[in-house]
């Protein structure tokens, strides 16, 4: 009886260890980094092939309508060219804070799979020339669902 119990506990420990090992391995492969255009440039090596969330402001005069839609996201110092085949939300326009999720293409442009415009109660679009609040913006992609399930 005793040896059986030890065997069972040993088996459970091995199983939990194995699952933890797999989980942590998977975790490392599926991290999504939040970056500003400047940070994206600094981390170019890491960004290759990974899913990235890029946050910033839509540069004035950079929107080119069409399929795909292209525009530039800026943080004041650096800009990244973004293209998406998505239909942008109604609020999308020049100078608004956006977060795009996608990958960096070989030519350095950003292929967005998901385009979000900052829109919650507390957050107001930044005044001309002022950068949007980065933290408030990074919350954007989570906002909808966060408000959803908050008890």
């Amino acid at each position: 009886m005793k040896s059986q119990r030890i065997f069972a506990i040993g088996a459970i420990v091995v199983a939990i260890g194995g699952i933890a090992w797999i989980a942590l391995g998977n975790l490392g492969e599926n991290l999504v980094y939040y970056w500003t255009p400047a940070e994206l440039h600094q981390n170019a090596a890491k960004a290759a092939g990974a899913t990235v969330r890029l946050g910033g402001m839509v540069k004035t005069g950079s929107i080119v309508q069409g399929t795909p839609l292209t525009f530039e996201v800026t943080d004041g110092t650096d800009t990244v060219k973004v293209s998406t085949s998505e239909i942008p939300p109604a609020m999308f326009r020049e100078g608004i804070g956006v977060v795009v999720e996608g990958t960096v293409a070989a030519d350095g442009s950003f292929q967005s799979k998901r385009l979000m415009v900052k829109h919650d109660n507390e957050y107001r679009a930044p005044k001309d020339g002022k950068m949007p609040d980065e933290k408030a913006m990074f919350g954007t992609l989570d906002d909808a669902a966060t408000t959803a399930a908050t008890p």
Partner: protein, 633 residues
């Protein structure tokens, strides 16, 4: 103004009652004083009464639009419909803490009523634990999250109204209370588990009490999670219902551990083992509900560093730390007294199935926990902003979920103790139904991969479940009601598994622009944009697109996806329109609307309606498992 002071006073008195009751209860538990139990009970009822009265006070203030109460000025508005005004009690932080207190008071009052004839010191410990938790929430309301702060003059004449997302859909009215009932209700089994550990014993009657007390919040939590997923699907407009969002995960975690606990609790009654383990799972479930509340209420997910600026973050984190340390010390000191010398079963037996079940649920909990908390750790320790992508969760949860489904079939088919060769041979019938499901799926276009594996396990589990239900019904409903309820829950879960697997693997979607009068072909339907319309309502403006849906030339339905614009909120909130059939949903989400042209995202998702039906079946099964045994208790 008077309501603000009245409410404040009631919360203060509730705090005194809770603190005094907790002290009286723990003292009675140590001194085994019957008089002490009585005292704890009366103080507990006092707490409940004050808590309920203070909630009524807040509702009165909300309904009378008494903007002298700051919370009412924050969330109230003269233009809001009355039922929205009532539920705006939980639309913001302070009110939701008050509502939390109200739900806790209700739970405690009901439990005290159900145990009114008991004067055991164990009950005193349980009461003391509940009241200690109650005291903490009162403390939050007296301090950092005061719902009754008066507003210094000038008193405004109108307010902004609650969060538009709350106003946008009826499910948002129902879903939060369900989650609260789940979260808060975990306090009750937590109290019973603490009492069992403090006394170092968990008898058959106490075990049954613990399991029933656990089943109630577990059921509400399940309903809350399902309604939340349904709400996300009906409102958020991305065609899905579950995104492994931190807030969703926060509600899933305690449900997973509580599910494990409900199964673990079935072993001691049979074999005398696993008592200690069951209490550990109950303590963990309670801790996870606290963690969930902390994560959703402190704004920690916008940034680790923002939580300290939130009103309750540090206090709440401190409370979690105290409960964690208390739980660990308690378990370490008493676990050996609870772990009786029970008998294990053979390697292939019902006992092993239960052990494996617990292992899988713990593994799933661990997976979700790591994924949810990793970004917080990364930001706090390394200053990096990351999030964990959905593929992580899917890669982990799909095989673990499949294993759970497999076990749901095999477990109940295995006998307790030593299995006979004959019993094992009987497993051939369910195998047949498993292959039958796969064949059916094959005809419907499911060709291999995880969906087929899911169908196979689902077929197997369905056969076993239906056979068990047949046996239980034959033995008589009133005697077997708990077993019947349990297997009906299993049936609902199997249905949900199938719906999740098929709907996520075979969803198709497409985005397009439509000019007025233009038609697009999508998923066997022809969609024509007919007209746009603006509708003014008291609290919002709706921009609706009328779209005719035809199938083989015949008009099936007209769908009206909309964008709702709330004053004071910059961006419009979409309301997708859904055409539901048993086979699939056609789901239209409006991206942009102009009179001459709309941007629309179209989805066709198979079998998704069965996810909500399955959730309903689970709720029904829970009720059946619960109500009769409550009546008997």
């Amino acid at each position: 103004m008077i309501l603000a002071y009245l409410g404040m006073g009631l919360v203060l008195v509730a705090l005194v009652f809770a603190a005094a009751g907790a002290i009286a209860g723990f003292t009675a538990g140590r001194t085994e004083s019957v008089e002490g139990v009585k005292w704890a009970r009366w103080l507990g009822l006092g707490f409940c009464a004050c808590m309920m009265l203070s909630t009524i006070t807040m509702e009165t203030a909300l309904l009378r639009h008494d903007f002298a109460v700051r919370y009412v000025a924050q969330v109230g508005s003269l233009s809001t419909p009355t039922y929205i005004t009532i539920v705006s009690l939980w639309s913001s932080l302070e009110g939701s803490i008050l509502f939390w207190g109200f739900v806790l008071a209700t739970y405690i009052a009901v439990t005290l009523a159900l145990t009114h004839d008991r004067k055991s010191p164990a009950l005193a410990d349980a009461i003391a634990t509940w009241l200690a938790v109650g005291a903490f929430f009162c403390f939050l309301m007296v301090g950092p999250a005061n719902p009754f702060l008066p507003l210094s003059s000038p008193v405004p004449t109108d307010g902004p109204g609650p969060n538009p997302l709350l106003q946008n859909h009826i499910l948002m009215v129902v879903h939060p209370p369900m989650l609260y009932l789940g979260y808060v209700g975990m306090t009750i089994p937590f109290g019973f588990a603490v009492a069992a550990l403090l006394r170092g014993s968990l008898g058959a009657a106490e075990l049954k009490e613990l399991r029933n007390a656990l089943m109630v919040p577990w059921g509400f939590l399940g309903v809350g999670i399902t309604l939340g997923a349904w709400w996300a699907y009906e409102v958020l407009g991305w065609g899905g219902y579950w995104a492994w969002d931190p807030v969703e995960n926060a509600s899933l975690l305690p449900w997973l551990t509580a599910t494990a606990a409900l199964h673990a609790a079935m072993l001691p009654s049979r074999r005398g083992t696993m008592k200690g383990w069951t209490t550990i799972l109950v303590l963990t479930s309670f801790l996870l509900t606290l963690l969930g509340t902390f994560m959703t209420r402190s704004g920690v997910f916008n940034s680790v560093h923002s939580f300290s600026q939130s009103d309750i973050g540090p206090t709440f984190l401190g409370f979690i730390a105290v409960v964690l340390v208390f739980s660990v010390v308690l378990v370490a000191m008493r676990i050996d007294r609870l772990e009786g010398e029970g008998e294990g079963g053979a390697v292939v037996s019902r006992e092993s199935a239960f052990l494996l079940n617990n292992l899988l649920f713990v593994a799933l909990t661990f997976t979700v926990f790591v994924g949810t908390t990793y970004p917080l750790m990364a930001e706090a320790l390394r200053g990096v902003k990351v999030s964990v992508g959905e593929p992580y969760y899917n890669q982990m949860a799909v095989p673990l979920g499949a294993a759970i489904l497999f076990l749901m079939g095999v477990g109940p088919a295995l006998p307790w103790g030593q299995p006979s060769a004959e019993r094992l041979r009987k497993l051939a019938y369910p195998l047949g139904l498993g292959f039958g499901f796969v064949a059916l799926g094959w005809l419907g276009g499911v060709h291999g991969g995880w969906p087929s594996v899911t169908l196979f396990f689902a077929g197997f589990a369905s056969h076993v479940t239906l056979a068990e239900l047949h046996v239980a019904f034959a033995a008589g409903f009133s005697r077997q009601s708990r077993r019947i309820g349990g297997y009906i829950v299993h049936a609902g879960i199997i249905l949900m598994f199938v719906a999740v697997a098929i709907s996520s693997a075979f969803r198709i979607d497409q985005e397009t622009h439509l000019a007025k009068g233009e038609t697009v072909e999508f998923g066997g339907y022809s969609l024509t944009y007919v007209a746009a319309e603006k509708i003014e309502e008291s609290n919002r403006e709706r921009q609706v697109a009328h779209i005719d849906v035809r199938k083989q030339g015949a008009l099936v339905t007209s769908l009206d996806p909309a964008l709702n614009i709330y004053p004071g909120m910059g961006a419009p909130i979409g309301t997708p329109a859904v055409y539901t059939t048993a086979e699939h949903d056609l789901y239209l989400s409006l991206m942009s609307i102009e009179p001459e042209r709309i941007g629309v995202h179209m989805f066709r998702t198979p079998l998704i309606v069965w996810l909500w039906v399955g959730g309903g079946i689970v709720a029904l099964g829970t009720l059946l498992a619960l109500i009769p045994s409550r009546v008997r208790a």
